[in-house]
Symmetry: C2
Subunit: 167 residues, 2 copies
């Protein structure tokens, strides 16, 4: 995604302000900062996962499987929970199967379905990645107090609930 590296200076802002007088510059900066930081942190996470041979999509599938009692789920359900299309999930699972981190088990009850199951290797991979992931998330977020962190989440949730104004 676009990195939005370059927020405008005051001279540029006044040019825009003249042409578009209704703009509330403070709000725009807040909005762009949110997009930029979200995007930057996402790519930082990608880099981290890449050093374990994973990417966000595949990693998230492993986590979703670990959440299940029997370590199994179906492609459709995984797609919905991960927020990607079924077609994309097919690709993610293909990759994970190739690396033997999950297996496809043909369904007995409904032969349209597969069950995707986390393998021992898949669990090992998570056991390798997750402690380090949690440690780093902890480090990252430690610049905010617990109270600030809670406030951040509540503000973000408010914004998300209000995102309909853009549609």
């Amino acid at each position: 995604m676009l990195q939005l590296k370059d927020l405008p200076d005051s001279k540029i802002l006044s040019k825009f302000a003249k042409r578009y007088p209704d703009a509330d510059i403070e709000r725009v900066i807040q909005f762009l900062t949110l997009l930029r930081v979200g995007s930057d942190l996402s790519s930082v996470l990608d880099n981290f996962l890449d050093s374990y041979g994973l990417l966000q999509g595949r990693w998230w599938v492993l986590i979703l499987l670990m959440r299940e009692q029997d370590l199994m789920s179906t492609p459709s359900s995984l797609a919905e929970k991960a927020g990607v299309s079924r077609a994309t999930m097919t690709g993610l699972i293909d990759g994970l199967v190739k690396e033997a981190l999950v297996i496809r088990v043909t369904g007995v009850d409904d032969r349209r379905k597969f069950h995707i199951k986390l393998t021992a290797s898949g669990q090992s991979k998570l056991d390798e990645v997750m402690p380090e992931y949690y440690r780093r998330v902890g480090d990252l977020m430690s610049v905010l107090s617990n109270e600030q962190g809670g406030l951040l989440t509540s503000m973000l949730t408010k914004l998300q609930n209000n995102s309909g104004v853009f549609k």
Copy 2:
């Protein structure tokens, strides 16, 4: 990007907490919420721009050009300011040229360079999009008070400055 639709419930969390006792769940939820809201708002912005026949990348190029005194810049400079590769910028400019929103002007001083210039159509397109964009950003952010908005930005900036811990 991954939508992370599904944050875990307490039963699942306790399973993860047992296996990965060092995890600070609150912080993880804050982190994931930030990624998710950033990603959601970005796709909401994409949808908005799409209704004007634009996408984030191309729209951002137009804005960067409008910032310039003479409405001109070079592909390299645009790429750097937009935070994309030069190769990507070539594609963005190709698209904008095709729609006559910008033109390529061959450089006289340095014949390796092009100058990319915003056309009258390009300016019109911005004049069409930007007021509505500003209005909606204002609406979106209005759920936060001015004070909260400032706090949000300062927290996000802190996190961004601390993102090195993940590398």
